[in-house]
Structure formats: C-alpha cells, structure tokens
C-alpha cells in the first residue's frame, strides 16, 4: 500500500480569476487540497473549474488569468514563487500532464518516437541513442507490442487508445512525481479505456507517485481513485474517500449520484438535480 501521508502537493486557498470587461469572473474560488502518493479524482460538471485547477498547478493558465493562493507547495518548490525558468524544468519532468484527446495533443508532424525522446533529451540531456532505447522500453511498458514499428509512426497512423498510451509513455519517461490527467479516457472506447486505466494504475503504484485524475464520470472516478474531490461552481464542496462516495453528505454530490442511470439500481425516473443558491455561499 502506498504511503499516502507523504504529501507531494499542497494547495491552500487557491483562486483563479479572469478579468473581463464586465468585471472579474472567479473560475476557481478558495480551493484547498493535498495530494499524496495516491490517486485523487476531481469531479465536476463542465464549467466547475476542475480543468482550470489542474492547469493552475502547472502554471499553464492563460496569461490574463490571475492565480492567488495562500500556499502552493510542490515537494520542495513553492509554485507561487517559482520563476518561469524554474517552471519549465518542472513541467514535463516533475509534474506531467495527460490531456483528453491524443489527436490534438500530439504533434502531427513529428514521429511518435521523436516526441517521446524529446522529453529526456531536453530535460536530462540524454544522448539520442540513450533516448531511443529508453523510449522503446517505455513504449513496451505501456503494452505496445511492436515498439520498433510504433517509434517511427506519425500520430495520425495510430488509434485513439494507442495515442493515449503514447501520451502516457511520454509523460512517464521523465519519471515525474505528480501526474495531472485531464479527462484522459473520455475520448476512448470502453474496452480501450480499461487498458489505458490499468496501465496508469500500475505505473502510479509501481513508481509510488501521485495522480490527479480530472473527470466528469462519477462511476469511473469512484472505481479508479482513492479519494474524490467534488467541485461545484469553482468551489470544493466535498472531499471524500472514493469507497465512501455512496455516503456523501453534500446535497450536490447526492444529486449527482441520483441523477446517474445505473445497471445495478434501475429506477423509472431519474432524479433531476435541484441547484441550491446556498451552495454558492462561503
């Protein structure tokens, strides 16, 4: 069992604000959480600020956005104070990000192998030969059967599931201690999704690292993650162990659970979520 008390990331009272012509829009408001050597899920509807939270940790927010926080500590680094140069050496090497659709997040004019090797060549100054052999090993690790052939393929020549495995290998080749996965399986078919998740699961356990798994799929997060953060309108409404999700207290979480059609508990009519303005206070 991973040691979850070993904290990798601490976020205290983080807010992300977007100044607009009609005033400041707060996309994320006073969000606090910690990530240990565990799989933590962030759940929320579109616009709840879950992706913005993930990006703000890597300082990848759009230039006009303002990030405020009492504290954002990643291992020995204060993310609020780190210079852009320091951030560049952290991104990809110590914190990695996996995005939703490999079709759009891989470079279409570079071969898959070149893109994966780039990480170690840039961050670790590995020689091309060393980078190649590490890339091949990494491709094998994510269950790609013929790494030699896949190395020379272009992104359009691989399937969605293979693309996502390539993304994972690209993220993990530099041995980061935190992975932020933003809807990594939403574009994949069910059977492929299982494969990709089980690779991710194994790697997180094997390397004893932290994973932030951003998703809108309650069933998926419940079964995959250790802990779940539920976000609503930019706020964290509840943090709960994934196994206890059925006992969630907050009416929003309960509403989401009841709105879900289920094979195990069929009901004639689904409950419709009643949004309470009181959820927006505090």
């Amino acid at each position: 069992m991973a040691n979850t008390s070993d904290t990798i990331l601490t976020v205290e009272n983080m807010s992300v604000e977007f100044p607009t012509l009609s005033g400041v829009t707060t996309a994320v408001r006073d969000v606090s959480f910690t990530v240990g050597r565990e799989k933590i899920g962030i759940i929320g509807e579109s616009g709840s600020g879950k992706s913005t939270t993930g990006r703000a940790i890597m300082r990848l927010q759009p230039p006009q956005a303002i990030v405020k926080a009492n504290r954002m500590q990643f291992e020995d680094i204060d993310l609020m104070a780190a210079s852009e140069e320091e951030m560049r050496s952290i991104r990809g090497r110590r914190i990695a990000m996996i995005l939703q659709d490999p079709k759009y997040s891989l470079n279409p004019v570079m071969t898959v192998g070149e893109q994966i090797s780039e990480t170690v060549i840039l961050h670790e100054r590995a020689t091309p030969q060393e980078a190649r052999s590490r890339t091949l090993a990494m491709l094998e690790r994510v269950n790609i059967r013929d790494p030699q052939r896949v190395f020379d393929l272009y992104p359009h020549e691989v399937s969605g599931g293979m693309g996502q495995r390539i993304m994972i290998s690209m993220m993990l080749i530099a041995q980061p201690s935190l992975i932020i996965a933003d809807e990594p399986t939403s574009a994949l078919d069910v059977t492929v999704r299982q494969q990709v998740l089980s690779i991710l699961d194994d790697l997180v356990v094997e390397r004893n690292i932290g994973l932030i798994f951003i998703s809108h799929d309650l069933n998926l997060v419940r079964s995959f993650c250790d802990r779940v953060i539920i976000m609503y309108a930019g706020r964290v409404v509840e943090t709960i162990a994934a196994a206890d999700l059925d006992q969630a207290q907050h009416p929003y979480t309960r509403g989401l659970l009841n709105a879900l059609p289920s094979l195990d508990h069929p009901k004639d009519r689904l409950e419709v979520l009643r949004r309470d303005p009181a959820w927006l206070e505090n």
């Binding site: 069910v190 059977t191 999704r193 709105a259 879900l260 059609p261 009519r269 689904l270």
Partner: protein, 262 residues
C-alpha cells in the same frame, strides 16, 4: 404491429473497389412504442444503421419496412417525415446564426405544413422550453436547452419514430437525467418508437426494452432490458461493455473479488 422491420440490412460507403461494407447483414424488428438500443464501440456501424433508416445513407441493400410500408432507396416527403434524427452534439447540429424559431420553421417549410406558428409553440411547450425561446440564438442556450431544441426540431413534423444518436453523451450527468426523463415522457405522450444509439449500457438499460450489441458491423447479441439488469447476458463482449459502464475494473481487484466467497 412492427413499426420498423429491417431484413438482411447491409450498408456500405464508397464505390467500386474501395467500397467499405460498414453494416453487414443485420435483421431486427421494433414494435410500436418500443425502444430499441444499438450499442457498440466507435466504428461498429451503429450510427450507419440510423443513417440508413433515416434516409441519409442510400447505399443499402436488404429490405426496410417502416410503419407497414416497404421503403425504397428513394423516398417521398411523407415517408421521410415519419422518422427524425436527434444528434449527439447540440453545439454542432443547430445552425448558429438562425434563431430557434427559424430552425424549427425550416422542416415545416420543406414539408409544406400549415399552422406553422401554432406548431412551433406546441413543440416548444412539449419539450419544456418557454415560448420566448423562439427568438433566441443557439449560443444563448445551455447544452441541455439546445438538446431540447434538437428534440423539438425532430418532433415538429409529428414523426412516428425518433432516431436518437447518442443524445446525451455530450451532456453533464444532471442534464442527461433531464433529457432522459423528457424522452421517457414524450415516448408515452406521443406514442413514439425510438431507436437509441449509445455507448453507455446504463443509459440504454434505462430507456430501452431491447438492445442489440454490435461489433464490426454485425449484432453479437440482442438482449432484453431484463437480461441487462439481472446480468444474464450471454456474450462476453456484452459483459465487457457492462463492466465499462460501471467504471474501472482493476484486474487485481477482480481476481481478489473472485477469490472471495460470494
């Protein structure tokens, strides 16, 4: 009486040597008022079957009978109006620069219907939208409201069949619940027959009476709702899809569960 009968239906794209047979010889019947589900992974041909039934795809062989009438490759307007499509993405399927009223007017003009304003008002009420929404543009609507407009546009020609192509997969869970409830109400009130395409078996089990599980252009199994809920489906592929809608099943956790006495 069967509302839809498809016998040895095969659909292909392209011509000559490059022709690709996407749907290979499927046969099914859907009763009036029934909801029939089509489930499978991307590229298995589920939307192509809808396309052929709707008259979008004309390269099919076999026989299709709708409402007791045998359908040819070329259809009359009245035949086309009998089944209407609702698409997945409410952002992409509604004209962005037309008001909702104009979007709803278009099918009425094409099919030369009378009492147009009256019909538009009725259909907006039917899908639970306020009447003043006819003056709005799609970007002023939320995803759920847009999907209601898409359903309204399909209903305005008073079809007997709605062909639903992943109608809720672009929506949040709470909005999905609203749309699924609306579809249930409409089916009862308007005596509609549905064919629902989805990749989520939980959604399918919620709405459908029977479901065909598809793999590479053919049916591997036709299961009843009861079979899905009681977990008595036969084909291993159906089980994989069912596990998928429950979330992540770790191989290790699985073996542990099997080791435990039931």
């Amino acid at each position: 009486m069967s509302m839809i009968k498809a016998h040895h239906l095969a659909v292909s794209y392209g011509h000559g040597e490059t022709a690709l047979k996407v749907v290979k010889d499927v046969s099914f019947e859907v009763e009036k008022g029934e909801t029939f589900g089509l489930v499978g992974e991307s590229g298995c041909g589920k939307s192509t079957i809808l396309g052929a039934l709707a008259g979008r795809n004309k390269q099919w062989t076999g026989t299709i009978e709708i409402d007791g009438e045998t359908i040819g490759q070329k259809r009359t307007r009245a035949q086309l109006a009998k089944q209407q499509l609702v698409f997945q993405d409410p952002f992409g399927s509604i004209h962005p620069r037309h008001t909702i009223g104009r979007t709803l007017l278009e099918p009425l003009e094409i099919h030369g219907k009378d009492r147009r304003q009256e019909r538009i008002e009725k259909v907006l009420t039917d899908v639970g939208l306020p009447l003043n929404f006819r003056y709005r543009y799609p970007h002023q609507l939320s995803g759920g409201q847009r999907q209601r407009v898409a359903i309204a546009r399909a209903l305005i020609l008073e079809p007997k069949i709605l062909l639903l192509d992943e109608p809720t997969s672009a929506l949040d869970v709470s909005i999905q619940a609203e749309i699924l409830n609306l579809l249930k109400d409409l089916r009862q009130r308007e005596q509609l027959t549905y064919i629902l395409v989805s990749h989520d078996l939980a959604v399918v089990a919620h709405l459908c009476d029977r479901v065909a599980i598809m793999q590479s252009g053919g049916f591997v199994e036709v299961a009843t709702r009861q079979q899905l809920l009681e977990n008595t489906v036969e084909h291993p592929y159906t089980r994989i899809l069912m596990d998928g809608s429950r979330g992540y099943v770790s191989e290790k956790r699985n073996s542990r569960r099997e080791a435990l006495p039931a």
